[in-house]
Symmetry: C2
Subunit: 552 residues, 2 copies
């Protein structure tokens, strides 16, 4: 199709996380966000997941920049890994860029990277494309929608958003500009689908401030609040409550310390000088003068909150009358981790307040009525729901249909699908490569399906190794067979079973040698088979069986 | 203490599941429930968890019977494993016993077991103890509270319960009898704590019937409802809705087929003869005449619903206009599994209704106001919260305190604690052995901490084996070193790394041999160390390294 814009999600559709969208017009490509994903429970040992950017590498010369909607990991986390593969200019608001720069620093990439700081309202003019940042509200400061002006029309990407009419920093979403753009004519809307199942309107972030004020009242001990390090407005409200009750504030946890430092220096966070103290100063104050703001609200075993709970924190020990507030919701899959931490805090005698007891968290994603507002303001010609699992995309489509959009103007894509759109028509015209690259340690992409399958099998059943040395001249066993197990049974407690395994392996090996069936493959398969049969019969388990036969 | 009752929870405190409580008076022991627990995410490959019953084995002659409150797995699931260790008479209402007998049959234990069927209201008189079954309401039919009459007073165990004033079978909880017992004087109350965090009163099960009626209206395709096989009242309401709209009902999933068969034959489930059809008859009817009731509401990969979703069911394939209703809440930890199934159903074009969209599930556990009613009716001298994580027990204690119970009359126990109680005093006097026995395949208790640690390590990092054969007479390498990996990297993609490992292992082995350092332990440790160092440096990973050096 001549004169068409291509929109290609390389990640972020049909699952939560790993958000990255390519917008291409003739010789220009811009990228919106570049997030990491989270390994699912089958990805044993995988640290994080990043998008496959083969398509960008193949079109290196076209790529003009990555434009960030906001600074959450699922929108920025893959940047260091991507920049190692190709250098791309980065555009974002000060906080977004500040968080990214922290990351680049850690990866030793900062000096090599080209970072452009923008403010909401700024327009970056490329050749034919112009990229406009439009102020939005979300559970992190400095969030923007992105309007991509192309010769064919405007592609409007909401990023993650909620409509907060009373934001903590009083910098509301620029609904007027969104309306103006809608009036001008939006060709395609890409909008956040995360909370499309929720009825009504999400509560404003400021409601949490009121709850915190009430909870802080009359507390005798220390107050320890766990929340997301990036939720600057939440942290501001915790500080406000601390100031109100004459408490000092200390930060705990690496990302909490890092992000609050960046946010303070950029003016997103306003902490009275006398309020902020360092961790080591805590002991200089009485307990009722202390507030600690910490990471670990998802129960992550290595984060500060869990370390405090389990007595593994280097400086913070639980004391009687400590009040813990977990100001977050468990992300699906983290419920049990969070429960463990809460139970442990109670066991140590602390008080704990969490979302089942009080309204200590609000979502950062738009509910149904907010989404309807977005659709009404933008009134796009075409619509592509983004950010969510498949069911969320379907529900968002249904919402758009209820609002009168024709069925064939809505596109539910999968990662890698190429949507081509211009003034008169739109359609999916093909696919490019897209997928998950798994990161384990410093290895990128070297953990594939076979490795994961092996890990899963090892995890569930353990392994048993049969090792022997044979002499192929005399057809005799020189050593072994010996049995080594890991994760199967504890050998000392199962001596009889191990002896039986040894016996059947020995018998099979001797038989193979007697018949001179010493071909590698046959030897191994035969031994594996008899051992497998024995173990399944005796234990109903199927550990990985590894016969190692050395020829000497 | 003379003339005292001992109450010993062998399981079920501080975690959900594995409920089993021992009540002992002089020469008599009775056991209330005998449930299984569910492996946590660290228990790789473990199928289920059962309680350690060493204490019962040590007091075999005293044990008079297991008395069951109801037929859920976490209250009956360990029975076959326990009966293999000692024979104990079993007492329960017809449905509870029916479900247990199914289990015993599978384990080949039915003919050897002594099962006593009781009705609510029955009293079993032992020597000094009498055990009374009191009708209760819960998310399974035939649930009872158990009142243990001892010479020192009544121990009242609620079992799992909710107060449903309008139960589907119109057999309400026997609140009058509970009040009467309370009036008579209850020494100790043990009460369900699961939902103590929830304010108000749980909705009645009949509210689901109304929702189902509405949802069934005007559906063109088949209706497939997933729920718990044991939730007989839910299933009855699904049948009622089907009958109302002239639909047939087929059951799918082994436990659904088993339990509904038992429940029908015992009169708990009322299915008009013309309504029930077999799975293979589905094809004889048009889609709008079909309802399928299926297992798998927790997204379990092997259950019928997931098999239907992923196209692996032997007879049920998804068709356009199919309406799926997931009439259950995900148990914590199962959210992602359920999400996966829902997304897959949408991808296949089905409609899905689940708890985020409609009120298609109610809990079977009492909320705060129901618990207050129980405390008021029983008005016990002492109180011991049961069934719940630690935080639930604490909240239940707080609720009892708010109702005026003195602090030192409330006992939060851990599994194995021995609470001694009589007319004048109560206190924890010691501990007996209690804990988790892990079941993997048919192995009971042979998977311990070392095995689990190994499985975890293998799961996260995989393994690398260095294998070589050496001749201790000539101090030379006869074969190898060879490298075998599983779950670490895919060797074909990482040939350079594997070659490097081989080289350092070879060098180290040669050095050891040159210096005649051939002591087993030294050889293995040296090789392990150099390989470990190399791998960590190159990959930042620490796989299990297993040097296997054969002497020939």
């Amino acid at each position: 199709m001549k004169n068409a814009v291509k929109v290609i999600p390389l990640g972020g559709l049909g699952s939560i996380g790993k958000n990255i969208t390519v917008i291409e017009y003739e010789e220009e490509i811009i990228v919106i966000d570049c997030g990491m994903g989270f390994p699912d429970e089958q990805m044993y040992g995988v640290d994080l997941v990043i998008p496959d950017i083969t398509y960008l590498l193949q079109n290196k010369n076209k790529v003009k920049g990555i434009f960030f909607t906001h600074g959450h990991e699922d929108h920025i986390g893959a940047v260091p890994y991507i920049l190692k593969q190709m250098n791309i200019p980065l555009y974002g608001t000060p906080l977004t860029l500040g968080i990214i720069e922290n990351k680049l620093q850690e990866h030793g990439l900062l000096t090599k990277s080209e970072c452009h700081c923008v403010e909401a309202g700024d327009v970056i003019a490329l050749e034919q494309i112009k990229v406009e940042f439009v102020r939005s509200t979300h559970s992190i400061a400095g969030a923007c929608c992105i309007a991509v002006h192309t010769p064919e029309g405007i592609i409007f990407h909401t990023g993650d958003f909620k409509v907060d009419y009373t934001p903590v920093d009083q910098k509301g979403m620029d609904l007027q500009r969104i309306g103006e753009l809608g009036k001008e004519g939006i060709l395609l809307l890409l909008a956040d689908s995360t909370n499309v199942e929720r009825k009504g309107h999400s509560p404003s972030e400021v409601t949490i401030g009121k709850t915190l004020e009430r909870l802080f009242d009359n507390v005798k001990g220390r107050i320890i609040v766990a929340t997301f390090a990036s939720n600057i407005h939440r942290i501001q409200q915790i500080i406000n409550a601390a100031v109100l009750y004459g408490r000092k504030v200390a930060f705990s946890g690496r990302s909490m310390e890092n992000i609050t430092k960046v946010a303070s220096s950029l003016g997103y966070l306003n902490i009275p000088e006398a309020t902020l103290i360092e961790g080591e100063q805590i002991k200089n104050y009485s307990n009722d003068q202390i507030t600690i703001v910490t990471t670990g609200s998802q129960g992550e075993p290595m984060a500060a909150l869990a370390r405090i709970a389990f007595g593994k924190h280097r400086s913070i020990q639980i004391e009687p009358n400590d009040l813990f507030i977990i100001s977050a919701s468990p992300i699906p899959g983290n419920d049990k981790l969070v429960s463990k931490v809460i139970n442990e805090l109670y066991k140590k005698g602390a008080q704990v307040i969490y979302k089942d007891l009080e309204e200590v968290h609000v979502s950062g994603h738009a509910y149904k009525e907010e989404l309807k507002l977005m659709h009404t303001l933008t009134h796009p010609q075409y619509f592509m729901p983004v950010h969510g699992e498949y069911r969320h995309l379907i529900h968002h489509r249904n919402l758009a249909r209820q609002m009168g959009m024709p069925h064939d103007h809505i596109f539910i894509l999968e990662d890698g699908d190429v949507l081509e759109v211009n003034k008169v028509t739109a359609g999916v015209i093909g696919r490019v490569r897209a997928g998950n690259i798994l990161v384990d340690g410093i290895g990128i992409g070297d953990v594939g399906n076979i490795v994961l399958r092996d890990r899963k099998h090892l995890a569930e059943e353990g392994m048993l190794i049969v090792v022997a040395a044979i002499d192929l001249e005399t057809y005799s066993i020189m050593s072994g067979p010996d049995i080594i197990t890991r994760g199967f049974v504890y050998a000392k407690d199962s001596e009889d079973l191990i002896e039986e395994v040894k016996a059947v392996a020995n018998k099979e090996l001797e038989m193979c040698l007697a018949y001179q069936m010493t071909e590698w493959h046959i030897l191994k398969t035969s031994i594996k088979k008899v051992v497998e049969q024995l173990l399944y019969e005796k234990t109903k388990r199927r550990p990985t069986i590894l016969p190692i036969i050395m020829e000497v």
